[in-house]
């Protein structure tokens, strides 16, 4: 009888200790991720399909790089000197290149946002966009919003493909 009571009290103590550890660990974990700073930040994304039947490696789709990155939360990262590259399914070069001196990457919302300058070259340089006061890039649907003053240059070949 005494033994059973003792074992149950031990189990309760272990459970309480585990609970306490978890209670302490979760805020601590959040605090730790908030302070993490990295250099040469890289966030690659890959296509679902492999390159070929013989090559099971998935082809690179997106590559977000930054000189320095700081985790503001578990999902949001502040990136300095960011460079976003998008690769077509064929894998021949980039078809979109975006540069920003500072931006936030939200891995949960899958967006890149910034309040400063952004320079974008797309479609082999046929489209060039400059934004000066903020942008938001939805990496899921490939929608770019550039706020306020923008400058866009569309090359003539885009309008008349026969004049190449």
């Amino acid at each position: 009888m005494m033994l059973r009571a003792r074992s149950s009290s031990i189990a309760a103590a272990v459970l309480a200790a585990l609970g306490l550890i978890l209670l302490i660990w979760f805020p601590l974990h959040a605090q730790l991720t908030r302070r993490i700073k990295t250099s040469n930040f890289t966030w690659p994304e890959y296509y679902d399909q492999p390159i070929s039947a013989t090559n099971p490696t998935n082809r690179l789709k997106l590559l977000l790089r930054g000189a320095q990155a700081q985790y503001l939360s578990n999902d949001v990262v502040a990136i300095t000197t960011a460079r976003l590259e998008h690769y077509p399914p064929s894998g021949r070069g980039t078809n979109l290149l975006a540069l920003s001196p500072f931006c936030h990457f939200d891995s949960d919302a899958h967006t890149v946002t910034g309040t400063g300058r952004v320079d974008i070259a797309a479609d082999d340089g046929k489209i060039a966009v400059q934004g000066h006061t903020g942008f938001r890039f939805d990496m899921t649907n490939y929608v770019l919003d550039v706020s306020n003053r923008t400058r866009t240059v569309l090359r003539r070949t885009l309008m008349n493909p026969t004049n190449r």
Binding site: L144, D145, V146, N148, T152, L154, R155, P161
Partner: protein
Amino acid sequence: MKLLLFAMLLLCCATARGAEPPLPPVASTNSLVILSEAGARFSKTNAVWRGQVRAADPGMYIECELLTASFSTNTARTNVTRVVKDEPPRIEEADADSRLDFIIAETNVMIITPKAQIVGDRAIYNASNELMIVTGDLVIAVNARGSIVCQRIIFDPKTESFEVDGPNTFVPAPGVLSSTNALFSPRKTNAPPKVRQPGAVPQSK
């Protein structure tokens, strides 16, 4: 001595200037530059610019409040391959080749070309036939011959010629009044003009 040094310095400067490569000629941009004040949105199929939009290319300048460009991508999705027997067929996507389909300019549209100027509410440029249709409650087109007021005008940017649909009013330019006056003068006939004789009774029909 000082004079000699000064002369040598001048000579050095002159030779250095002479050695400079000539400045390259100003390259004529063969691109469409679009500026907007209230932002822009780009997606895979279209682009929208808002607020005091100004678009300029070597042959045309457009001002409006909202500019929409629609792109089409001819992504080749026909290369269906089946490498291994049990493997499902894979669709190989080729590189998407973007091309502009049409541009729509809305609200306070003003189009300026070297020889013409058009003001309207809405302009649609179709890349397939390279024609621009300008519509609005009051569309005004001006060129060297005069000005046309109408509600719908088809403008060919290549030839800078107009084609007017519907009721319109043409006001000839002062310099070309005599040449275009024939359009508004009564039809001429070979019969001599009827002169009413004094005292003659007008014939009743």
